[in-house]
Symmetry: C2
Subunit: 239 residues, 2 copies
């Protein structure tokens, strides 16, 4: 592939959205895992639903709305400052173990982020993780007022990087994002993280169910160009 | 409320999408419940994702795609005729226990269905359940080539019923559909079926997780005008 720049998704790709679970478990002992998974599942549902409705609110608002939903459905009681502590975690998500090394190996390339996160969320995230200097651009879909997989969100990349879409390698671990980016016209590397692995008997842990729902390759007719085991394999793809 | 016509959602509102579970369990002993829930969760995800991407395939195709996903993620092996048997269930979904009586009580009103289902799916469904004569119109979003909660889908109702949206009572048990219909401008009755009821300890059955994800009132800023315990309460609302 002829590649001019690499663009990464943030949540679930460079940064581990599951890393809210420690605080969730401290705040709601025994319920942290369920809260973490339902929160994340609804957060993306809400981004899709608003986009279908041709409405927009920034991702911080949606993240809060989905947290409110998760707290309510699980029958939990939370004071405002408890919810703030959880929200705050979104500014301090842990990068995956290999994120730093993978980006270091790609230092010769123009790198960017394209994320659903609001500008403030993304700036907080890259600053707090000391990764800001890795990226030529940190692009929020907020500018397009439409969430991924809307074409309007992906179209921001060409404008910011002055690189035609055929020469962008878009890297994401979110299967819907891989499908949307491919549909838009990027080259796509899908980092396969935590797919479901067969049917457990009877009950599922919330994490296993999350993996079954969001971990597999979506059957939307848009296959990624490459399936990667981790971010470390991106360098080999563009070498 | 001044109401001129009543419009019902089909899947999950008049007809029980969970009624595929018997056949799913026969075909995949011990896995029928997980297959049923993941299938339905992904079916709606796919309808939203395609709509965000400004693409369209009819709901039969999407139902098949989501079934393929569910079978794969659960590590099941299925021959083509097994998948056909499951798909066929969508033409024979059971009406809820109160559906017939609730529609009978509303016989004096113009009634219609607005559903994501393709025309062929909906015609099969109302014919097989002997409810076809109840409806003045059975409207498929297929005409708009956009799934709910797109405004284009809801806009079909005014065209078919010649009734302004403010005078439509839209009845659905799908929380996202209640939000979308309210955003569009209908009066909305949300039939609350099977919400999650507090956090179970540890693992969830797939059905409990489904209820937690899709059973609560969505926090999208569009509240239904009325929350109903069952379809039987609709008659009281318009009396």
């Amino acid at each position: 592939m002829r590649i001019g720049a690499l663009v990464f998704d943030a949540y679930g790709t460079l940064y581990d959205t599951q890393s809210v679970q420690d605080v969730a478990e401290q705040l709601f002992p025994g319920k942290g895992e369920a809260l973490t998974q339902i929160w994340r599942l609804k957060q993306l549902e809400y981004s899709w639903l608003l986009t279908c409705m041709e409405r927009y609110e920034d991702f911080w608002e949606l993240t809060r709305r989905s947290l409110d939903y998760a707290v309510e459905t699980l029958g939990l009681r939370a004071e405002a400052d408890t919810l703030e502590r959880l929200m705050e975690r979104y500014l301090h998500l842990a990068p995956y173990a290999e994120t730093r090394e993978a980006l270091q190996a790609l230092a010769a390339w123009p790198l960017a982020i394209l994320s659903n996160g609001s500008r403030a969320m993304l700036e907080g995230l890259v600053r707090n993780s000391r990764l800001a200097d890795r990226f030529q651009a940190v692009i929020s879909v907020d500018e397009a007022r439409a969430f991924k997989p809307s074409r309007r969100a992906y179209a921001l990349v060409e404008r910011h990087l002055k690189t035609p879409k055929e020469e962008i390698l878009f890297v994401t671990s979110n299967a819907f994002d891989a499908a949307g980016a491919k549909h838009f016209g990027f080259k796509v590397g899908w980092v396969r993280r935590g797919a479901g692995a067969g049917a457990p008997a009877g009950a599922f842990s919330p994490t296993v169910l999350f993996r079954h729902l969001r971990g597999g390759a979506d059957r939307l007719g848009y296959e990624a160009d490459a399936r990667l085991g981790s971010l470390l394999e991106v360098a080999g793809l563009v070498a």
